[in-house]
Each structure stands twice: as structure tokens, then as C-alpha cells.
């Protein structure tokens, strides 16, 4: 058997030369002292491999059109066996790739590995970093949710700042007059065809050049014997990949990242925030007002990348030792500290406060309306005419939901009477349905839920509470500072008794006296 295997291997080697390829790839002597710091490139390669494999699996289900993208991602998350884990792996894998690329870059700078004769490989590595960030940017448009849409709006508007050709670049990225179907298809093509092809070619080139010049090794020559890449370094590489793989699996097992509501260009409740690795740029953009915005958006990132690219020629230290290269390493450390500060500041810029986790007052009130016997649960229940309304199971597009909530007779003739029209309540129900697409409601006690229902059905159309609601009337977030409970109660019953020119309609006949008391007491506590 052994002899037969050897004969087959000989035959294959004769035809393909695989043994010399394996020797060339693995049997390289390493400088003494090459150790764990030199596993970061392999960690990056591992992360990229995870992205390729999970990306192919996601592509089996994903539909790159605005009317199906969001639903196909939701289908992957909620219905495909292992789909949530798959999305989780791809999501956290993207973060792993960015972290590994960044650490690898830092290691190369600190060890001075970019120096002669490795200048070209350094440049190739920097281009790879740009491609990795482009993967992140194009990737998060694909779910076609709110984050996707608004991140793309910002990215395309940044590209408009390119001197001379900004409008042309933006139009090319958009594909059509507005962000829409043509944008999604070209960003999808970039994400799954153009960028992968580019990264494969560049990674191959990077590895070829790494082998051609050998691993640079420690900055300070170490005593001792050199060891072979295989099995010593491969064992370290595999260990690091294994640890990263376990960490990825644990993170992904906890669940796929929340899919936000579908892209809605008219939304005014949504507060866009980028992925964590763009927090630095996000924060930087706030500091350059007016015509100076190009400095934050393009000049500073461009200058940083140019300086990095020129490092092999700027670094004039006698040796690779840290003490001989302080003129390069100190500015690099300052840049890192700046990036870290901007990233932390960007992360601390939290979206407006919501109650009950990600659910706001309108959404909790809307859910209470959904669960009212006369409304949705009349049909939508386990033994009813329609499926129960559950978190993660809302798949109809917003247009359809609007029609259905406003007039279900059109869509389900004969099943029920026309709803009693109340714009505030309808809006709250739609808001709750949108929220239910991605997350289960928080536990809120019965009295608070009832108050939120009263607020969302009667008040939030015109007033704002906790940054949710209309702007026609005064903000009620801290109304208790100005008005006492009896004045608030009177204003709700009939505002003209307190203010003869008040435009607010009386609610004395629309809301029961007990509910008005409850509402007034709650509002009076808002200070």
C-alpha cells in the first residue's frame, strides 16, 4: 500500500512538480528568533479564507435587488439552517480581517520589515489594506437596511469631494441618478467579483515576494540556530488560527448581527453610525467645517497613506533597531494614538436614547396596539385567520404593511371591518412592525406599556418625547419642569381652558378620564 502511494505521488510529482512547490512554500529557513509576532500575516490569511468560504455560502441565498436584498438576508438569518451562524461568521470575520491587517501592519513597521529589499511588498500590503476596507464598505450596503443605505449615502458623498472628478466618481459609484438598484448591483459586483479577484492576485504577489526575500525576522539579530518554516512556524500559525477560529465561532454562535429596518430614504428617526473600523474617519469628519471638509475626508487619510507608502525611503536608521528609528516610530505611535482616540470618541457618540433597549416609546406603544383585541391579534393569532405577529417573522415590505394596516380590506377582503382611523396609532403600529423584523420587544410593565400606547396613539403625532415623535407641538420630554400635573391634565382635556389661543385639539372626549390622569401624572414626572 505504502509503495503504491509512493508510486502515485512520484507519478504526480513527475507531471506537476508539486514536491518542489511544497519545498519552495514550506522548507524555508527562518532567522533565529522568528516567533509569534510573525503569525499575524497568516492570521490575516486565515480571516480572508473564512470570508471567502462564508461569502460563497451567503451568495447561495442572497438576492442583490432593493426589493429582495433585505428579505433574502432576513431569510438567511431566520430560516436557512445555520444561516444566523453563517452571517455571524461573515460579520465577525470582517472585523477579524481588519484587526489582523492592522496588527500585521504595526508589526511590520515596528520591526522595520518594510526596508530594503522589501519596499515593493510593503506597497502591495498597503494596497491590500485598501482592498480590505473596500470589502467592508461594499459589504455593508448589501443587506439593504437603514445602516447600509445611509453609510452608502455618506461614502458616495465623500467621493464627491475628489478634486476635479468628484461628481464623475460619485456618479460611477451610484450607477444611476439616485442610490438604488443600479448602486446595489455594482457594489455587489465589486464585493463578490472585482475585489476578490484583486485580492487573490495581490495576496499571491505578497506571498511570492515574501518568499523571494525571506522573512525579515527580529529587528535585533538573535543568537542560535535557524529553524525551518515547516513545522515550527506552521505550528504557530495553526495555533493562532485555531484560537481565532474558536473566538469567531463563539461570537457567531451568540447570533448574527441585528438586521436593521429596510432602507428608508425618508426616515427621520434613524441615526446612522458606521461600523467600528470607520469610527475614526466618522469622528474626523466632524472637525472640518465648511469648505475644509475635504481635509478630514480625503487630505488627512491621503497624507497618512502616502507617508506610510514612503516609509521605506523615509526611514534612514542605521539598523532596524527601535532606538535607531525613533524619527519614524514616534510619529507612527502618535498617529496610532490619534486614530485610537478618534475611534473611541466616535464609538462614544451614541445614538439618541431609546427606552427598553433598542425599542422607543412609539414602538412599545405600537406593539401594545397590535396586541389589542380589536386590532391585529383579532386575526393574527395561533388559531386565527392569519399568522401570529412575531419578532423576526415580518417579511412584507413597508409599502405593503402601510396598505395593510391602513386598509386590510384591500389585501384581505372580507376578513374584517375597516380599521378605525387614527394616524398616530397606525404610525406606531408600523414602527413596531419595523422593529419586530429584527428584535424581540423588551419587557415593559403593564402600566408603562399602557401609557406608551396612549402617548403613541394620541400625542406623538405632534409632540416629541425622548426624541421620538412629531415636531408640530412643544417637546414634552421635560414638560414636568414647566407644568404641574393639574395644568397638564387640563391641557389634555381642553387646552383652551388654560390657553385661549391653543391650537391643540381637546382630548377630553377621546381619552377616558382615568387615562388622562395616568398620562398627566406620567408627564408631570418628566423633569
Amino acid at each position: 500500500m505504502k509503495r503504491l502511494t509512493a508510486q502515485v505521488a512520484d507519478w504526480l510529482d513527475n507531471r506537476t512538480g508539486f514536491r518542489s512547490l511544497r519545498r519552495h512554500a514550506l522548507d524555508e529557513p527562518l532567522p533565529p528568533g522568528t516567533g509569534w509576532w510573525f503569525t499575524l500575516g497568516s492570521l490575516l490569511l486565515f480571516g480572508l479564507t473564512v470570508q471567502v468560504v462564508t461569502g460563497i455560502a451567503l451568495a447561495l441565498f442572497y438576492a442583490p435587488t432593493p426589493d429582495h436584498a433585505w428579505q433574502s438576508v432576513q431569510y438567511i438569518t431566520t430560516t436557512v439552517r445555520g444561516g444566523s451562524l453563517l452571517r455571524g461568521l461573515h460579520h465577525w470575520g470582517a472585523s477579524l480581517v481588519v484587526i489582523a491587517a492592522f496588527l500585521h501592519l504595526c508589526r511590520v513597521v515596528v520591526f522595520g520589515s518594510y526596508r530594503k529589499p522589501r519596499e515593493i511588498n510593503w506597497i502591495v500590503g498597503l494596497v491590500l489594506l485598501q482592498i480590505i476596507l473596500a470589502f467592508g464598505l461594499t459589504g455593508y450596503l448589501l443587506p439593504w437596511d437603514q445602516r447600509a443605505y445611509w453609510a452608502t449615502v455618506v461614502a458616495i458623498n465623500i467621493s464627491k469631494l475628489t478634486p476635479g472628478i468628484g461628481d464623475m466618481v460619485a456618479a460611477f459609484l451610484r450607477g444611476g441618478p439616485d442610490i438604488g438598484a443600479l448602486t446595489l448591483t455594482r457594489w455587489y459586483a465589486a464585493h463578490v467579483l472585482v475585489l476578490p479577484a484583486s485580492i487573490v492576485v495581490l495576496v499571491a504577489g505578497h506571498l511570492y515576494l515574501m518568499r523571494r526575500h525571506g522573512i525579515s525576522g527580529p529587528a535585533t539579530p538573535q543568537p542560535g540556530r535557524s529553524e525551518m518554516f515547516h513545522p515550527h512556524q506552521t505550528a504557530r500559525d495553526l495555533t493562532v488560527a485555531l484560537v481565532a477560529g474558536v473566538l469567531l465561532a463563539v461570537l457567531a454562535w451568540k447570533g448574527a448581527p441585528a438586521l436593521e429596518p429596510p432602507a428608508d430614504p425618508s426616515s427621520s428617526d434613524y441615526v446612522p453610525r458606521p461600523d467600528w473600523y470607520f469610527f475614526g474617519l466618522f469622528q474626523l469628519l466632524k472637525y472640518f467645517p465648511g469648505r475644509l471638509e475635504i481635509i478630514g475626508a480625503l487630505v488627512i487619510p491621503g497624507v497618512v497613506m502616502t507617508l506610510l507608502a514612503l516609509l521605506p525611503w523615509l526611514d534612514r536608521g542605521r539598523t532596524r533597531l527601535v532606538k535607531h528609528r525613533l524619527s519614524v516610530l514616534l510619529p507612527f505611535a502618535a498617529g496610532l494614538a490619534g486614530l485610537a482616540t478618534l475611534t473611541v470618541l466616535g464609538a462614544m457618540d451614541k445614538p439618541p436614547q431609546t427606552v427598553g433597549g433598542a425599542w422607543n416609546i412609539r414602538q412599545i406603544g405600537g406593539l401594545a396596539s397590535i396586541q389589542t383585541e380589536q386590532r391585529c391579534v383579532r386575526c393574527h393569532r395561533a388559531d386565527g385567520l392569519a399568522a401570529p405577529i412575531e419578532a423576526g417573522r415580518i417579511s412584507r415590505p413597508l409599502d405593503w404593511l402601510e396598505m395593510h394596516v391602513a386598509d386590510p380590506i384591500v389585501l384581505a377582503p372580507g376578513l374584517r371591518d375597516a380599521p378605525q382611523t387614527n394616524t398616530g396609532e397606525t404610525r406606531a403600529i408600523l414602527s413596531a412592525l419595523q422593529r419586530l423584523r429584527t428584535s424581540a420587544p423588551p419587557h415593559v410593565d403593564a402600566e408603562t406599556t399602557h401609557i406608551y400606547k396612549l402617548l403613541s396613539s394620541n400625542c406623538l403625532n405632534c409632540h416629541t418625547v425622548d426624541r421620538v415623535g412629531g415636531t408640530e407641538g412643544p417637546d414634552l420630554t421635560a414638560v414636568g419642569k414647566k407644568l404641574d400635573v393639574s395644568t397638564i391634565e387640563q391641557r389634555i382635556i381642553d387646552p383652551t381652558t388654560v390657553d385661549p389661543v391653543a391650537e391643540m385639539p381637546p382630548f377630553g372626549e377621546k381619552i377616558s378620564p382615568e387615562d388622562i390622569k395616568l398620562l398627566a401624572a406620567w408627564l408631570a414626572k418628566r423633569k
Binding site: G180, L182, L285
Partner: protein
């Protein structure tokens, strides 16, 4: 042959950037407008998006300005996010990078390089509807 292929790909990938022509569209009724705050009008219309027909939505703030009306686009002039009216400070605020505009759309603080875009507005004498040119 390579140049030919590259030209073909370039031709196909070059975008169609001309949007639909401007026209007057109903945004609100005179009675919709509150006395002391801008009215947020969401205008939706079917439009051709590549191979599919979809609904394009635009948001405009409309407010009485003396005897006339003022309409402002709700798109931040910085990087295109949707600004919101903040009743407490009587300003428009951008939730992305912190741009602030006064009620006439002029920049108060933050990074926006220009005021909010003014949208032409008129009252249709036949219907008393407020119309904007979008």
C-alpha cells in the same frame, strides 16, 4: 482586442446620471402647516430604478415666511444625511456629524459647507395646496 473590451466595459459601466426633470408637486395643504414649526412633507412617487419601478421619497420642510412660504430640502449639505427639526432649539440638526442649521437653513455650527438647499414653493390658487418644485 484588450482596448476594445475595456472600452465596452467602460461604456456599460458608465452611469446614467440624469434624474427626472423638476416639476411642481403637491406637498401639503395650507391648513396642514403648524404655526410655530416647519411642516415635514414626505413626497413619494414611482420612478424607474434601473430595470425596476420603485418609490422615490423626498423630504422637504415647509414653513410660513411672512406672507410667503419657505421650503428647505431635508438633506444635509455635508454628506447627505437626513436632518431633523429640533423644537427645543428651533434648529435643524443632522444626526450624522452634528451639523446645525437655523430655521432659514443657514449653517449655525458643525461641518456643513453650505445652507440647506432651498426648494421652490408656491400655493396653487385653485386647490390651496402648497406645491414644491422637485
Amino acid at each position: 482586442m484588450g482596448a476594445g473590451l475595456a472600452s465596452l466595459v467602460g461604456l456599460v459601466a458608465s452611469p446614467r446620471s440624469a434624474g427626472p426633470a423638476l416639476r411642481w408637486r403637491k406637498a401639503a395643504s395650507v391648513s396642514d402647516l403648524p404655526a410655530d414649526a416647519p411642516f415635514t412633507a414626505v413626497l413619494g412617487e414611482r420612478h424607474q430604478d434601473g430595470w425596476m419601478e420603485t418609490r422615490k421619497q423626498s423630504v422637504v420642510f415647509i414653513e410660513k415666511d411672512g406672507d410667503a412660504y419657505r421650503a428647505l430640502s431635508a438633506t444635509c449639505s455635508h454628506l447627505g444625511c437626513r436632518v431633523n427639526w429640533d423644537a427645543a432649539s428651533s434648529t435643524y440638526k443632522c444626526p450624522c456629524h452634528g451639523g446645525v442649521y437655523d430655521r432659514r437653513g443657514n449653517v449655525v455650527s458643525g461641518p456643513p459647507p453650505a445652507p440647506l438647499t432651498k426648494v421652490n414653493v408656491r400655493v396653487n390658487p385653485q386647490t390651496s395646496a402648497i406645491e414644491v418644485e422637485l
